[in-house]
Symmetry: C2
Subunit: 88 residues, 2 copies
């Protein structure tokens, strides 16, 4: 594997796992008032498009990284809406 590919994979891992600490924070503190639903929705659309792009290119790094991010994003979105309503 070339150096370029390693940097690309590292970049994918960081951007795909970025929402994980946010999700953990939401679960721990049971609060999400300051989180933008629009941010999560735009990100969801973008990640879904990346998965589609990955399938068209048959690029498994893109597919797996973005499906992982989509799952974290989806759970974050559901919990954000839930806690916003609870504290509304």
């Amino acid at each position: 594997m070339g150096f370029e590919a390693i940097i690309g994979i590292a970049a994918s891992v960081f951007t795909s796992t970025a929402l994980l600490p946010q999700l953990i924070k939401i679960i721990r503190e049971k609060k999400a008032n300051d989180i933008s639903i629009a941010m999560l929705a735009v990100l969801f659309t973008g990640l879904a498009l990346w998965v589609w792009y990955g399938f068209m290119k048959t690029d498994w790094i893109i597919i797996i990284a973005n499906i992982f991010a989509l799952i974290i994003n989806f759970i974050s979105g559901v919990l954000t809406i839930y806690f916003k309503r609870k504290h509304a």
Copy 2:
């Protein structure tokens, strides 16, 4: 431009601009208590790696989309730390 490229560009645009509504929400409400600094830090690292990857591949879509996202991320990070301290 092929259909694949259009989906790839659309995906880039959505994932790169996702933080913009979050930044606008922080500026409007002057609060960022529920936002994870770790999320912004991991994302910053990932985006910087994407910019590096873009330069290695001389791929201007990757470079521009991720530099834009880095700027939004950086401003969001500075304001998040500022408002967290203010409300601490």
